[in-house]
């Protein structure tokens, strides 16, 4: 990176924080489940539920590159984007590229399904259960447990794919996507001329999204 290059923010701090907390929490959830530390599994799970809900609200109220609607709009450009991938070079997308958009939605969906089934899951002994399992029978809770166990493989598969894609960008396209996800910044020269301005986080939008997601988690906890 040449000295003096202007670096502009493309990922707001909330997006980055949620992303890296997910990176910590998914392995922590797996590990706590393997060890049978179900009280920790539940705490981690509710934390991740709050983060995923926050990310969903942030997809509507967040900064420009966090929002879902522009991401969905550009999915039409997916075939053209994939076609050019092997060519290398080219200017970077300001925000999610069409493939990254797919990755975001697939991961949110899979993790969301994992959280949703976990809420209703009952363990084989009827001794441990998710906070909403009170609304289902033992047998139904066991079915949720089976889906919860199976779906984890999908989560792992998507994570592996996600990491592989980032490795591909790094090695095959010499495009470091991890750095901007840490610092939020990227060299302005990476983008096409007339590139967009920096993104902005509206404090009120953050407070609203955070309150909404905390309220949802609170409601889940007190539903019994």
């Amino acid at each position: 990176m040449a000295v003096g290059t202007t670096r502009i923010i493309i990922w707001d701090w909330a997006v980055r924080l949620v992303h890296w907390l997910m990176v910590l929490l998914v392995p922590a959830l797996w590990w706590s489940a393997e060890q049978g530390w179900m009280d920790w599994h539940q705490r981690f799970g509710l934390t991740l539920l709050g983060l995923v809900l926050f990310r969903l609200f942030w997809g509507f109220f967040g900064s420009r590159t966090a929002r879902f609607v522009p991401m969905i709009r550009q999915l039409g450009a997916l075939p053209a984007y994939v076609g050019k991938l092997s060519g290398g070079g080219g200017k970077a997308h300001f925000g999610h590229n069409p493939l990254g958009t797919l990755s975001v939605f697939a991961l949110l969906l899979a993790v969301g399904a994992q959280l949703g089934t976990g809420l209703f899951t009952v363990d084989v002994d009827g001794l441990e259960s998710g906070p909403l399992a009170i609304f289902v029978s033992f047998d139904t809770g066991r079915e949720f447990a089976d889906i919860h166990e199976f779906n984890f493989n999908i989560v792992v598969g998507l994570v592996v794919l996600h990491v592989a894609a980032i490795a591909f960008y790094y090695f095959a396209r010499r495009d470091n996507l991890v750095g901007p996800m840490v610092t939020g910044r990227r060299a302005q020269s990476d983008f096409a001329a007339g590139a967009p301005q920096e993104i902005r986080v509206r404090p009120i939008a953050f407070v609203a999204s955070a309150l909404l997601s905390v309220a949802c988690v609170y409601a889940v906890l007190n539903a019994g």
Binding site: V23, V26, P27, W30, E34, V122, D123, V124, D125, G126, L127, S129, A133, I134, S137, F138, D139, G141, R142, F152, N153, V156, V159, V160, V163, I166, A167, Y170, N176, V178, G179, V182, G224
Partner: protein
């Protein structure tokens, strides 16, 4: 610096993927081992195994009822009492649910480990501990004191775990 970052993350996830794969191998390996002799006896053995699984599901259902009510702000004591009363009845014959030949060597899918028949005395002792705890839970439940029920329920759950740790395939 960035290269280290990406390598570290990739390694962490590779480790996660591999470790979870290990868990699956363990599970997949267990129900194997059926042979022709076992296949002949399998109708009866299969029925025995399925019957005991149904009994354990009843216990699980009763536990869930008690657990749900203990966790709720306004526990339904009558529901707890009914569930607690069913436990000693179901558990009374538990020692007979594991005749020789109803382990994984039968080829029937079961989480019962061969250790049951290798350490039968210990296994029977664990069952007796559960039966005593369940009887006590029932007595306490009929008293209606929620805090005392919670303690007795915890103790009963402990006897389940004590046995499952050594004699049931890790789920």
């Amino acid at each position: 610096m960035r290269k280290i970052g990406i390598t570290r993350i990739a390694l962490a996830f590779a480790a996660v993927a591999m470790l979870s794969a290990c868990g699956q191998d363990e599970e997949a390996a267990a129900p194997a081992g059926g042979d022709t002799a076992a296949a002949e006896a399998s109708t009866e053995v299969k029925a025995q195994i399925e019957a005991r699984q149904a009994q354990y599901k009843k216990i699980g259902g009763a536990f869930k009822t008690i657990n749900d009510n203990l966790k709720s702000g306004s526990p339904d004591i009558a529901a707890i009492q009914a569930a607690a009363a069913s436990l000693p009845e179901i558990a009374a014959t538990m020692g007979d649910w594991f005749p020789e030949g109803t382990g994984p060597e039968s080829g029937v899918k079961t989480e019962a480990l061969p250790a049951i028949w290798e350490n039968r005395a210990d296994f029977d002792q664990k069952i007796a501990a559960f039966q005593a705890a369940a009887a006590n839970l029932n007595t306490v439940a009929q008293g209606g004191d929620v805090a005392a029920i919670g303690a007795a329920f915890g103790a009963t759950g402990g006897t389940c775990k004590a046995c499952h740790d050594n004699f049931r395939l890790d789920d």
